[in-house]
């Protein structure tokens, strides 16, 4: 670890925190339907969409209607992506002549982008046409991100409103998020990325004659416009197979730094939106503090482990940390930091190959996802995931002192706690269950690229990433088989919707409750005690759930590595 490395990490944190208030202020105005500086241009477009869609923007929805609208929206999105992939060979914008994508891979990819996972069982440049990249994937990058933020808004309204039956209008939330938040930022962001060197063209792949006379086919495409939203919307699906490690997706140290900021920007700002809507910004800062503690702990471990390198490399007299699977322009620190950010948020873009990380360096991304991606988290998804843990923590605190727990003026009762537990328990059921199945199926074991405990970690990582809707991978695992395409798709689906529906049910029941003023017996939820309590609950629940699995994978591998065992 170096001083310049830590300066990069701290500079990163400072900029993310500095953006929280302005972005939170702007987003609060957007979702409350107030006037913004973009309204003169966008308001007519917004009204036009409501008019053709038959949406009455003043009519709000019950939580069930809100959830059904969200599900219907996804059904349509599924058919668009699946259809485009199956038909890409006969559709335009296909200069590389890609053929139709197989049924199981199309199914997996459609679910993958729908659920904001963006798991890549395909290699972008070798599988997909430009049309699929734009109309199939870029559009779903926007809409799944907008959906996540809309759902977080619905849950926030559950806390901030008193004795009402409605939690907002799904169509209005999604439209506003897309038009006022995501699109304007992405337009500026894309221009920046092209300036840094990311291609944005519909032209065909270029054949170059290298200096030594060889032939090199260089894949191109409308890359920058997709990279912008893949980062901002914490989607993470790369245009190319190597994702943000590819020089065309992330050409410079500056583009890398801005991409890292854009992963956290909206998710962190949503904590401020929460604070503003419940009438006390400090409630938002307390949640961000919980996230910050867990984040810095993760960064420290991964950076330390990667800077130390592996015993095998040290034994050969090599110094300078573990550079296998990392790019020179990023080095150890920017690769480690990116890995922790992308898994803390549910982004899943990678600028280094996590599969080649040291055992402990790669364990932190795994833990981040297993905790439910609540450290800032996916846009929207991170906040509602974190609020589920907050509800549990408040419940635990209530048990300790023997009072009905309350949070930001709402009594937390049996229904809320049940919904929170349902959402939190479904995740380990998926990733532990499918991992257990996969490691006893010979055909599934054959997909592992590494032998020994590392192979087990590859499988555990895949299901964890899918269930958490992250999308990063220990990419050695050959995921494009019938078994993995199907079971990973199931994990992504359950991981997304079995978390969303209970969260919506909780939003509905909270909105119906009266707001009660804090009394002398109310646990203050803006101080260090509360932050410590939530961090503790997260680590205890998380630790109990997945420690045994980690012991079989990265922990055993670390011990093997220090004993100089190779597999």
């Amino acid at each position: 670890m170096t001083v310049i490395g830590w300066i990069q990490i701290l500079l990163y944190c400072a900029i993310v925190v500095a953006l929280v208030k302005p972005l939170g202020w702007y987003m609060t105005r957007v979702f409350n339907g107030e006037h913004t500086f973009l309204s003169p241009v966008l308001r007519p477009v917004e009204r036009g969409i409501y008019w053709v869609g038959g949406v009455d923007e003043r009519r709000e929805q019950h939580w069930l209607t809100y959830a059904v609208a969200m599900l219907l929206f996804h059904v349509g999105g599924f058919f668009i992506i699946y259809g485009l992939m199956r038909l890409q060979a006969v559709l335009p914008f296909n200069p590389a002549g890609q053929s139709a994508v197989a049924e199981d891979l199309s199914f997996n990819t459609a679910i993958s982008f729908l659920t904001n996972t963006n798991w890549q069982n395909y290699g972008g440049e070798s599988t997909l046409s430009y049309l699929v990249q734009m109309l199939g994937l870029t559009h779903q990058n926007f809409l799944s991100a907008a959906t996540g933020i809309a759902l977080a808004m619905a849950l926030i309204r559950g806390f901030s409103r008193s004795s009402v039956r409605t939690i907002g209008n799904f169509w209005v939330d999604v439209t506003r998020c897309t038009l006022y938040v995501l699109l304007p930022i992405c337009i500026v962001y894309t221009v920046f990325l092209v300036w840094q060197g990311i291609p944005q063209t519909l032209g065909a792949y270029v054949d170059a004659t290298t200096l030594e006379g060889g032939k090199q086919t260089i894949a191109l495409g409308p890359v920058a416009s997709q990279v912008a939203i893949k980062m901002l919307g914490t989607n993470g699906g790369g245009f190319f197979n190597a994702n943000a490690a590819h020089p065309f997706e992330n050409p410079t140290a500056l583009s890398n730094f801005v991409q890292m900021i854009s992963i956290f920007a909206l998710g962190a700002a949503l904590t401020n939106v929460f604070g503003r809507m419940v009438g006390n910004e400090r409630q938002g800062w307390a949640i961000l503090a919980v996230m910050g503690v867990l984040f810095l702990a993760g960064v420290t471990v991964t950076y330390w482990a990667e800077a130390n390198g592996t015993n095998a490399l040290q034994a050969l007299g090599l110094t300078g940390g573990n550079m296998e699977g990392k790019e020179v322009r990023f080095g150890i620190v920017a690769s480690s930091l990116f890995a922790v950010i992308t898994t803390a948020a549910s982004c899943g873009a990678v600028n280094a190959m996590h599969d080649s990380f040291t055992a402990l360096g790669g364990m932190i991304p795994l833990i981040n996802m297993q905790l439910g991606e609540i450290i800032v988290g996916g846009v929207g998804a991170g906040l509602y995931g974190m609020l589920l843990f907050v509800v549990l923590s408040i419940f635990v605190a209530g048990l300790m002192v023997g009072r009905t727990p309350e949070y930001v003026g709402k009594k937390i009762e049996a229904r809320e706690v049940k919904m929170a537990m349902l959402a939190i328990l479904v995740l380990p059921l998926m990733y532990l269950g499918w991992t257990a199945v996969a490691v006893v199926l010979p055909s599934a074991v054959a997909s592992m690229a590494n032998a020994g405990p590392h192979g087990f970690t590859e499988v555990l990582y895949a299901y964890t990433s899918a269930t958490g809707n992250n999308g990063s991978a220990f990419a050695g695992l050959t995921g494009n088989t019938f078994f993995y395409n199907l079971t990973l798709a199931v994990s992504m689906f359950v991981g997304r919707f079995f978390m969303i529906v209970p969260a919506m049910a909780m939003a509905g029941s909270l909105a119906g409750k009266k707001s009660i003023p804090p009394s002398a017996g109310t646990l203050p939820t803006t101080g260090g005690l509360f932050v410590g309590l939530v961090v503790g609950v997260i680590l205890i629940i998380g630790g109990l759930t997945f420690f045994p699995a980690l012991a079989l994978g990265p922990i055993v591998e670390h011990l093997a590595m220090t004993a100089n065992t190779l597999f």
């Binding site: 300066i7 609208a69 894309t190 030594e212 490690a245 065309f248 095998a312 990380f357």
Partner: protein
């Protein structure tokens, strides 16, 4: 519930058209107008032919060129489409080795490369980036140490003085952005083009 079906179709189609067609196509037009070179992939031409992209690494094996990092990219096997064969710096199929910290295959590969490099230049420590594959397999850069390590070989193959070659390395070394972000690096293609330019004078 039924009245949610109309917006589910129409709002979806309209937003899809805006974000999936209007946005990327408009950005393509804007990018092409403001930054035409970058938008086309930062291609480098020499005597009218495209020799590569400034951002994409390419394979160098000849002694008279600086070599980039090992690359783990593959291509479909021409004899059996279900298998792949090594194809270093395949810019149409990026990817890393994905070998883990306790991989014997990784250890053996690195050991072989280290021994080769030690034989080539026994006077300096082997820089780690010269024996590890990058994440993309297309890393255009090497560390300044890795470039300096190769100076004696390149100078000998080109009958240039080591000082002249070392000077070219220094000229082609890029520092951290604003002195803070990223790592110092040398773009291998740019360095080799400069080298060809210097030799032809």
């Amino acid at each position: 519930m039924l009245r949610e079906i109309r917006p589910a179709i129409i709002v979806l189609v309209v937003l899809t058209a805006i974000t999936g067609l209007v946005y990327p196509l408009a950005m393509t037009a804007i990018a092409g107008a403001i930054f035409p070179k970058q938008a086309q992939g930062s291609l480098i031409e020499r005597n009218g032919t495209v020799v590569g992209s400034a951002l994409i690494g390419q394979e160098f094996k000849d002694d008279k060129y600086f070599h980039g990092r090992p690359s783990a990219t593959v291509a479909p096997d021409p004899n059996d489409a279900s298998k792949t064969v090594p194809a270093p710096y395949n810019a149409a199929n990026s990817g890393g080795s994905n070998l883990g910290p306790t991989s014997k295959a990784l250890h053996d590969r690195v050991k072989e490369d280290v021994e080769k490099l030690r034989a080539e230049n026994p006077s300096a420590a082997v820089p780690i980036d010269l024996v590890t594959t990058s994440a993309s397999g297309l890393d255009p850069d090497i560390s300044p140490d890795a470039a300096l390590f190769q100076v004696p070989r390149v100078a000998k193959a080109r009958s240039l003085s080591e000082d002249a070659v070392r000077q070219l390395v220094t000229q082609n070394t890029q520092g951290r952005f604003a002195g803070i972000l990223g790592e110092p690096r040398v773009n291998v293609l740019a360095l080799n083009l400069a080298l060809d330019g210097a030799s032809s004078k």
